[in-house]
Structures are given as structure tokens and as C-alpha cells.
Symmetry: C2
Subunit: 312 residues, 2 copies
């Protein structure tokens, strides 16, 4: 099991030599989910030695360029490098035309199937689900339509204590029942108590990604108790008026959301370039929500380690 | 007077951490012309401290992403940074929709006038002309419609020897005639010979940019005697079959064009990533055209210095 988040870029608006636009890679058990894709994301993936051919699902929050201008280049490079397997993109509908117009301009017919999944404007739905993970959109409040995402592992089944299988002579066809937490009865009539042969599974992780947005208390109930919340904090508390006007949040607004939602850890990012000292932003947030961290390009957050070291 | 070319990127297809896609900046007397605009060009401009707000004209050779995926980000950043002055884009028609679809997706109405100038499919025309410079397209032979560009300074007028103006008591209204190379007659009947009061102007520079293209002998007459030719050499001579199939040239094909056209200097670039030793590419080209140079990111070619140091 693994659940790791890599920050590929965490700056807003205009990229510079050392400031990359928004992109994150979430690794859930070696399945890779890209979240937003600012210009040059494909190079950032290379920089951190993350194979972009392993990404099968890309989630785009909204269609401001700092969140998606790197997507067409990434898709094109996947194609040029011979990708054959499916790629799924989850975004607002306008992106579909943006991609198609550019593929058409270069007369490119992709070698691989590209599936476009539209994020609804005014509805929160399950965008992706398999046996271990579910991803939903969260309606945010920005200057254009914008979605957050919540990645929730599905509750794991109980783990079998292998040494007990032999001891109690449990046939393999009984294992699914045991993993669901049920007691079983063997053919010889003997009852096996679940607690004797299974152990608790790893706790399911959850991650909420909320950028770009004004302070939006509606999201609190949707992200309640998540392990980690990434929430934009483009502005300092003192610039709250600009934040509101431009559809963004301040440090303290991000912290208030984290506090109300009882998340375990808050990561802030999407910094405006007007702030040269990001620690000041961090301090502001910490006044309200102590367990705040600054997003930093290249950071890897290993959810497993966080629990083991008990530092969430 | 200045005439300088900066190489912002000279690699083909897929960008990596140290290999930027194609983009060049031509400075003609402090007017800046961007030629192609691969992903991340805006950051490359920043890296070399070239203000992108000074660029008023952008020429896009063709609509493969490695030549234009950075354009929408550059336009957006110009907008976000408050640009008010005109921007002119010269490209094939499909790019207009690519730009419009993306501006529309982000609900962006640019603060500045954006003029789109269509490069014709099958005609070579003057794309840009003012009192000192003329830019024309050159039809190339690639897998999709593709244009080279030739930047020609217009022949400069003769320079006035300022000290002679006073000596011969020449009125200002006679200066235009003198700059055209004519003798003049003063009101007192005295004839002033042009050669006594003027000197030769700086030679007009010319630069031809030809990428992406197969070997295409048609271009020779159009780029005859230019000072500098940038010609793609994506492949080594030994890979000539792949070059032809993919619509590209080899080192020796680029050199043959340079030789036939009697250009003074050849710069090759747009290297395939299969070659780790670019010097081998250089050597191949030099076998046919000695005055070949490798394009290298960050290189600045000052046409004035080239003449002074007599090394073209």
C-alpha cells in the first residue's frame, strides 16, 4: 500500500525560472493521478523522475492557464513516446475543444485512447471509482467555474493472518467472508471467530484539493476529517479584499476551513508573487490552524509515514 | 543599430530538464521579434533577462507543439502583467482558433489588441515591413504546412558626416537628398558632391530561419547570400531515410543548402534526442559547409560583431 503526494508546482499565475505553476501527482498504490497541469509540468515530472506514462488519470480543476497549459504538451509527448494505454481526463467541458483543436491543428491522431470525462457545472458526483479509491468533485467559488477534488480510499477489507489459515485448516473460498469481517462455519461444524484469524486493515486515506477558490464554507462538510487538505492561500490576511475580488483565499481563510473541517493537516500554496517571505504566510495560517505546512516544489508527502511518525 | 539573435531553445519534439523546445528572439534595433515559441518560452525569456513585453511580433513556423505550445502562456502572462500595446502574430490560420478557444475557456478578454496575420498556404508574401526591415515567409516541406522566415534589413541610407554640415553650411532640408546619395546644389549656386559629406551606411543584415523541413532545394534562391541561415538538422547523415520520412533534414542536407545559397554562416539545430554527441553532427555538416555552428540555448549572435571580427 502506498499513498504519496508530490508537489510539482505550487505557484500562481505567471511562471518564473524558479516558480512552477500548479501540478501535483498523487500515487495511490502505484496508480498515478495527476492533479492540474500548469505549463512545463511534463518537465517537472521528468525532474522528479516520475514516469508520465504511468499516469492514467488527470484531473483539471479549472481552465485558467496556470492550471492546464501544460496538458497538451504532456499528451503530445505521451503520444510521441509511443503510449498505447488509455488516458482519462476529468475537466470542465471547454477543455475537450481546447485539446481537439490543437490535435487537429497538428494533424495528430493519438496512438492511445483518450477519454474525456466532463465535470458537471453544478453537481458533485463520483468522477472515478474502483475497488480501492473514489474521487469526487467539489464545487468551489472562483471567477470561472472551478472544482476541487476529494480522493478517498475505500475502507480496506480486514487482513488475514496467514499463519492461521493453516492452523485452522480454512479453505480459500472462505477468505472473502473473513475479509468482510464475518465469522465462518467450517464443513466440520467448527465456528471460526473473525477476530482470531484477521487483523485490522490499514486506515483508508483521504486527500482534498481545493484551488482556486474564495473562502467557501460550503466545502467544510464535504472535506470533513480528511487526512490532508491542500487549500489555496494566494493572499496574506491583510490583502483579504484583493483575495475576494480575484476569487482567491487568504492564509487565514484557508486555516478556518481546515479548522472547521477538522482535517489533520493543511497544506497551503498557490502563492501570489507579491510575497517574498512565505514564512509570514505560514505564520498567519498557523495562528488559526497549527498543523499548517507550506507547499514546496519537490515535496513528497507520504501519508503512511505521517501516521507512523504520528506527526499529523 | 543592432541585430542580435538569441537562441532560447533548439531541441526537437519532447522537452526535458535541460533541453528546451524551439524559440529564438531577434533584436533588430531594439525591436524584438520572437520566432517560434515552444512550451516554457516565457520562462526562457525571463532566464535570459529578455523582457517579453518588448516583443511586438511573433512568427510561428507551424503548428507542431514544440514550436508553439508556449504561445498561449506567453500571451496570458503579457495580459496579466498589464500589457496595453499591440501584439502581432504571424502564423497559419489554425492557430487563430487555438488561441481564441483558450481565451474563451478562461473567459479572458485581453487588455491589449492582438492582431493575427495569416501566413498563406501556397504563396510567399511580405508578412511585415517597416522602414528598416522586411519579413517574408518561405514555403518549406514538412509533414504539415510549415513556413520558414527571412528577415532582411532594408538598405540603409547614407550616413551624413556631421562635421561637414557646418563646414559647407548645408541647410537641414537638403539632408534627405544627401542620404539618398545625391549631389545637391546650394542656394548660392555651389554644388556639394555627395561623397564629400556622406559615408557608406552599415550593410543591411539578413537572417533566414528554416525549420522544420525536408531537404528542399527550392529555398536556395530565396535565401541566397544571407548573412546567417538557421536550418534544422534533426538527423545525422546516416539517418537520412528517417529524416525524409519524418519531414526533417540531415546535417549534410542543411550544409548543402547553405553551400548552394552562398550564405555566410550556417547554424544547425532542432536535434533529435537520439544523438548524445552533437559535435558529430557538427563535423558532418562542416564536411560540406565549413562555417557551420551548433545552436546552443542561451547563445547570442551579434551580427555587428561578426562583421567587425571578420569571422563570418
Amino acid at each position: 500500500m502506498s499513498y504519496k503526494l508530490t508537489i510539482l508546482g505550487c505557484d500562481s499565475a505567471i511562471p518564473t525560472v524558479n516558480k512552477q505553476q500548479t501540478a501535483q501527482l498523487l500515487n495511490v498504490n502505484e496508480r498515478f493521478f495527476l492533479i492540474d497541469c500548469g505549463e512545463n509540468t511534463q518537465v517537472q515530472l521528468r525532474k522528479y523522475q516520475l514516469s508520465f506514462q504511468r499516469i492514467n488519470h488527470i484531473f483539471i480543476s479549472h481552465l485558467h492557464g496556470d492550471h492546464y497549459f501544460g496538458l497538451i504538451g504532456l499528451i503530445t509527448s505521451m503520444h510521441l513516446l509511443g503510449r498505447k494505454k488509455e488516458l482519462h481526463i476529468y475537466a470542465h467541458i471547454e477543455l475537450k475543444e481546447v485539446i481537439n483543436v490543437q490535435l487537429s491543428a497538428s494533424n495528430t491522431s493519438l496512438n492511445f485512447p483518450l477519454f474525456f470525462h466532463e465535470i458537471p457545472l453544478d453537481e458533485e458526483i463520483i468522477l472515478f471509482k474502483d475497488d480501492t479509491l473514489e474521487v469526487r468533485n467539489i464545487i468551489l467559488d472562483h471567477t470561472i467555474v472551478c472544482s476541487g477534488f476529494i480522493f478517498k480510499e475505500i475502507k480496506h477489507k480486514r487482513k488475514i493472518k496467514k499463519e492461521k489459515l493453516e492452523k485452522f485448516e480454512i479453505p480459500f473460498d472462505k477468505i472473502p467472508e473473513l475479509r468482510k469481517g464475518r465469522d465462518i462455519k467450517l464443513d466440520n461444524g467448527k465456528v471460526i471467530f473473525n477476530s482470531d484469524v484477521t487483523k485490522d486493515p490499514t486506515a483508508p486515506f483521504s486527500y482534498a484539493y481545493c484551488t482556486d477558490t474564495r473562502f467557501c464554507s460550503d466545502i467544510v462538510k464535504k472535506i470533513k476529517n480528511v487526512d490532508v487538505l491542500y487549500h489555496e492561500a494566494t493572499f496574506s490576511d491583510k490583502d483579504f479584499k484583493i483575495a475576494n475580488k480575484t476569487g482567491h483565499s487568504t492564509t487565514k481563510e484557508a486555516a478556518k476551513i481546515a479548522k472547521k473541517a477538522h482535517v489533520k493537516r493543511l497544506i497551503i500554496g498557490h502563492y501570489s508573487k507579491r510575497y517574498s517571505n512565505l514564512n509570514e504566510l505560514l505564520m498567519e495560517s498557523k495562528e488559526i490552524f497549527e498543523n499548517t505546512f507550506l507547499a514546496k516544489e519537490g515535496d513528497i508527502l507520504d501519508f503512511e509515514t505521517l501516521y507512523k511518525s504520528n506527526n499529523i
